[in-house]
């Protein structure tokens, strides 16, 4: 077990993804090409069997990151390695199928991600067929995975259509569809944000149990730190396309170092009375992501930025302040 953990499952090496945006007349005339820097110079490694939460506000690039992992997008710069193989250089169909056999995705909205004209059984068979699994094993795989996601009396569900099930049941099916091929790596993009609170807990528990049983590596994307806490041992905080803090979840929550993480932790509402109503240590709104920052990206929202931050005279990039806890060095001394 410890041997496996040492290996890197996934590695991002200075990955960037820029999107071109429509130009207005002035920009066309002057030859300016504005770009949205969805992910900018991101590097990290995920070990085998690790579960990593990626947290940030909307527009911080967390979904782009997920799409990059899934090879749905090609990075503008940099390399993405899965078990040492560069994934966007895969050309042969057989290689791509091999890669996809290892990797599955859990979508955000269960109501939209299941084909309404397929029965639940067809939905679960789809990945088995397209990734060439032996037909004799299909039934067994289905019944195993249905047990795993805690849908007892599976016959009751298998011949129904998605509209006949509740949101929580549907999300269990989405989870089952991802887990049926026994993946080594699961990416979940806000899997419970569309569900009711009383149902959420059940899905997260099923996810956790599957994770400990199948020992897959997981990326869990969420805007909610409180949920990440229950699923992930490590948390990466993103702001405007860059990683600002990366460390063990308990450290990030209880001892945040970056001013953005501090604000984020304070902003998460808690179900208690007598909570602090102090203003958050952050100002303004998320800036337009086409704006170029000379220095620190966070300087417009920092409550106490120095001129050096804005001008970029301070070295930036992550440094390790404690074993496994990395923070953007520009911002450590700001607050």
């Amino acid at each position: 077990m410890s041997d496996i953990k040492k290996n890197n499952a996934l590695e991002f090496k200075n990955v960037s993804k820029f999107y071109d945006v429509n130009r207005n007349l002035k920009e066309i005339m002057t030859g300016v090409k504005p770009q949205v820097k969805a992910v900018e110079n991101v590097s990290f490694k995920i070990k085998q069997g690790e579960s990593v939460g990626i947290v940030g506000e909307s527009g911080c690039g967390k979904t782009t990151l997920a799409k990059l992992v899934l090879n749905l997008l090609n990075p503008t710069e940099g390399k993405i390695l899965y078990e040492g193989i560069e994934i966007n250089k895969l050309k042969k169909r057989s290689e791509i199928i091999d890669y996809k056999r290892n990797l599955q995705f859990v979508f955000q909205n269960p109501y939209d991600s299941l084909n309404p004209r397929f029965t639940i059984k067809d939905i679960l068979l789809e990945p088995l067929k397209s990734l060439n699994f032996e037909e004799i094993k299909h039934e067994e795989m289905i019944s195993n995975v249905m047990k795993l996601v805690k849908l007892k009396n599976q016959d009751e569900y298998l011949y129904k259509y998605p509209h006949e099930l509740s949101g929580g049941q549907l999300q269990r099916i989405v989870l089952a569809r991802a887990l049926i091929i026994n993946p080594k790596f699961v990416v979940a993009d806000e899997p419970v944000s569309m569900l009711d609170v009383s149902v959420r807990a059940g899905i997260l528990n099923a996810f956790n149990e599957a994770k400990s049983r199948m020992n897959f590596t997981a990326i869990y994307i969420s805007h909610d730190l409180a949920l990440v806490k229950y699923v992930c041992e490590r948390t990466i905080v993103m702001y405007l396309g860059s990683i600002v803090e990366d460390g063990p979840t308990s450290e990030v929550i209880n001892n945040p170092q970056h001013p953005y993480t501090k604000a984020l932790v304070k902003a998460v509402p808690v179900p208690h009375v007598d909570q602090s109503h102090e203003p958050l240590p952050i100002k303004g709104n998320i800036p337009d992501s086409t704006i170029l920052h000379k220095g620190c990206k966070f300087s417009d929202r920092c409550i106490n930025p120095s001129n050096d931050c804005k001008e970029g005279n301070i070295p930036m990039g992550l440094i390790e302040i404690k074993p496994g806890h990395w923070v953007d060095q520009c911002c450590i001394n700001c607050t």
């Binding site: 609170v197 009383s198 997260l204 528990n205 806490k229 229950y230 984020l264 009375v273 709104n285």
Partner: protein
């Protein structure tokens, strides 16, 4: 003194073949300057309840029983010939619908949309309307230069602020906000909640906040009504409901909520799903999902009123033991 009083309100949605009882026998009071939260899961009737007050339910909705009073005058009564009075809308009670930020017209500038309310409803002239718009923008914390922008130039949180500014345009006494912070990021969510609080203090507004999020209620509300399957199952001050819930559903809901600073590393779900409201169970509606049910629960529980709180459950006498039990994982999840 209560500014709004809802008494025994029942609303159902009628189709050719069936009748869904979305809200049943809901009663509550709202005092001046009070912030009331209505929490519940999807389908529990919280939005229908909020919309009934504004009389903006879809056409299939029928009010079966109940009366709504505003400042002691009747706003709405079931099956009466009370002439439809629409004058109170926006002037006395304003409504911020769900995802209000997406309801701004994309082809008009914000200023035009503000003028529409102020001129048509508030009978102001254009110049006064523009002045008032600037005032409102200052109130919700947006630069007045941005009045001439189009909705797509605003971020989600800003659009929500615009929606709040529009609701406040005609100086209402009550604002009803349906899920005002649901689609927003936590930092923006916090800013909007702080804005609600600030407005309440500044304008002495009464606010009804409809939400599924207990922690939002914990952050700003004084009073909370918990709804389940069309009924208000428990109501009282936020402190009493969060710290000493008496209804098992509220206990379960408190457990199921993620808490950033708790030491537990698991969440406790409530198994099962709410009953079908076409033919709701005769007894307690939470019966199927309740781990503490006894035989008596098959008959309809009586609503118990205590000082400033109420609950509908047969087992309120042993609530202290139930509360202890409810904190255990094994109470809620039966292992195979």
């Amino acid at each position: 003194m209560s500014i709004l009083e809802v008494k025994n309100l029942s609303v159902s949605y009628v189709s050719k073949t069936s009748k869904v009882k979305a809200v049943e026998n809901a009663s509550f009071n709202l005092s001046k300057g009070e912030l009331l939260g209505i929490v519940g899961e999807s389908g529990c009737g919280k939005t229908t309840l909020a919309r009934s007050i504004m009389d903006v339910n879809p056409q299939t909705a029928v009010i079966d029983t109940g009366v709504i009073y505003y400042n002691n005058s009747k706003l709405l009564e079931a099956s009466s010939n009370l002439k439809k009075n629409t004058n109170y809308k926006w002037k006395e009670i304003a409504f911020i619908p769900q995802s209000a930020m997406n309801s701004l017209d994309p082809v008009y500038r914000i200023i035009d949309q503000m003028r529409e309310i102020l001129i048509k409803r508030g009978n102001l002239n254009k110049k006064d309307a523009d002045e008032k718009s600037e005032e409102l923008f200052a109130l919700v914390g947006i630069d007045k230069k941005r009045l001439r922008d189009f909705p797509h130039q605003f971020s989600g949180g800003m659009k929500q602020r615009v929606a709040i500014a529009m609701a406040l345009a005609l100086n209402p006494q009550i604002v009803i906000a349906d899920e005002p912070v649901t689609a927003l990021d936590v930092i923006v969510q916090r800013q909007i909640l702080d804005l609600f609080n600030e407005l309440r203090n500044k304008l002495n507004l009464s606010i009804i906040l409809v939400t599924h999020d207990i922690s939002v209620v914990a952050y700003i509300c004084q009073k909370v009504a918990v709804m389940y399957a069309g009924e208000i199952v428990e109501m009282g001050s936020v402190k009493s409901i969060l710290e000493e819930p008496k209804h098992p559903y509220t206990m379960g809901l408190n457990n199921a909520f993620p808490d950033l600073h708790s030491k537990d590393d698991f969440l406790v779900p409530i198994e099962g799903s709410p009953p079908n409201l076409i033919n709701p169970p005769k007894g307690c509606r939470f019966l199927d999902r309740c781990p503490f049910s006894i035989d008596k629960c098959k008959t309809r529980p009586e609503r118990i009123f205590e000082e400033s709180r109420e609950v509908i459950c047969w087992r309120t006498d042993d609530y202290k033991t139930l509360l202890e039990e409810s904190k255990k994982f094994s109470t809620w999840v039966v292992n195979e």
